[in-house]
């Protein structure tokens, strides 16, 4: 056991033993080499419940170094209770500096959102994934979905999207919209809102995905094609916040959370807590741009 210089207890640096770290690292390299393909891995138990972020943690702990600056968010918020628990765990096991500031972080772990601010070449973001298999909604058996990916036979998925359109007039997929990666694999981007999905495409940063309970990891390298599944005449759309704005900052061009007050009245607030803080304090931000967000230029933008 390597002596942990900062904490004199019996835990290895980053909790996971070196053997398992190597296995995860080898698998990550293969995952990056085959964008969008789910690679099975050992997924050892952690002191965190399955379904609460063990996959994201596995990747973070296999990748993190002494000098990394770590940020972790849940639904976009640094203060979310589960994110707080995981932050404490990572900090305790590595001694790493932690931050709420997206621009300062070198390693970000997230549950169900991409940061509102654009991540760069020197940052890595790790997603916690509940259900890595995008085809699960049309095929319940693992050995069958495995074959479908192997043969690139995605007909069942396309039929399902078409049926949704016929029934409801649109593709009724909310968060976790399925995407085609590098023109070969259909992938689940984890339950991120559609707002975030286009930011995976031809991005500057490396995206890593960990599904601990299902024991799969996968990756989207930078500058990779990530296309939401759509038809020529029925297109992918992001959420529409045209009629709402953040009650604290007036910003419209961000993913907003809906809040209900005790009297039943409704208001909206920016979901990404660090972005909200920066906008509230009139600090400089560097937000993602993509063709969908850019269309929102038509609407009345940031006021105040």
């Amino acid at each position: 056991m390597v002596e942990n210089l900062k904490y004199s207890n019996k835990y290895n640096f980053a909790f996971i033993d070196e053997s398992t770290k190597k296995e995860i690292r080898r698998k990550l390299l293969k995952a990056v080499a085959i964008p969008g393909h789910q690679v099975p891995y050992s997924s050892p138990e952690m002191p965190i419940s399955r379904g609460w972020g063990t996959g994201g943690l596995h990747i973070t702990l296999a990748v993190i170094g002494r000098h990394d600056v770590f940020k972790i968010i849940d639904q976009g918020s640094d203060a979310s209770v589960n994110a707080c628990n995981l932050r404490e765990f990572v900090n305790f096991m590595t001694g790493c500096e932690t931050t709420f500031d997206t621009a300062k972080a070198t390693l970000v772990q997230t549950r169900h959102r991409i940061t509102e601010e654009e991540l760069n070449e020197n940052q890595i973001i790790v997603f916690q994934v509940p259900l890595p298999e995008p085809l699960r909604m049309v095929e319940r058996y693992e050995n069958k979905t495995l074959q479908m990916h192997a043969e690139a036979d995605y007909s069942k998925m396309w039929v399902s999207l078409y049926e949704s359109y016929v029934r409801y007039g649109a593709i009724m997929q909310g968060a976790g919209y399925p995407v085609m990666v590098n023109g070969r694999y259909i992938m689940s981007p984890s339950p991120i809102p559609r707002w975030d999905t286009p930011n995976l495409n031809q991005a500057k940063t490396l995206f890593l995905f960990g599904a601990g309970r299902e024991k799969r990891l996968y990756a989207v390298p930078p500058y990779t094609d990530v296309e939401p599944l759509e038809f020529e005449d029925v297109n992918f759309e992001i959420e529409d916040f045209a009629d709402s704005s953040c009650y604290k900052t007036g910003v419209k061009k961000a993913f907003l959370d809906e809040l209900y007050a005790d009297d039943g009245s409704r208001k909206y607030v920016i979901s990404d807590s660090n972005f909200l803080d920066k906008k509230a304090e009139k600090q400089e931000t560097h937000q993602y741009t993509n063709k969908y967000i850019d269309q929102l230029e038509e609407y009345d933008l940031e006021r105040g």
Binding site: F13, E18, R25, L28, K30, A33, L206, P221
Partner: protein, 206 residues
Amino acid sequence: MQTELNYDIVFDAQEHFRLLLDSISRPGKINTFPAVEIFPPEGLTRGAALTGFALLNPDATYFICGENAEQIADYLLINTAAQQAEISTTDYVFIPEGYFDESLSAARTGIPTYPEDSATFIIDCELISEGPHGNSVQINLSGPGVNGEATVFVSGISADLLDFVKEQNSEYPLGLDMIITDGYNNVIGIPRSNKFSYSQPEHINL
């Protein structure tokens, strides 16, 4: 032979892995291992040795091509406890400068359901640089990880080897992934997802 005393199995392994991850994520970007005082045997560069140290352990296997294979194998065994395996089953194939042999065709390229069950080539070369040098081969890269197109110049790498890997990768997602290291601690990664091509220099120094 004894284990390297100047190598930290926790922190060096992690730092070097980050470089390898960055290299495979950004084909064409030249990363450089920090100076670590290790003394690999003849035929294995420090870069290749550090790559081996970062990735090998008793759950993974390797195969050494070319000369001095026994010494190199021992060196890796002592420092990582990983065992050798035949080319047809091995996880990592260590290839020395300028080497190519038909026997490499036995290396695993994966199966449609598990394309990741494939070998990785750790290839030593003479020098990797951003601009042409000596009799370097120009490698043009495009695909995941590359912003448009990128070029990198490599000397001491067999053209037959490049042709071979390209051939093996034509049935993507099956294929081989390459980590190329030189005698100056530089490293680049070329995953199977990359559509690379290369052009030989006009004059070849024999």
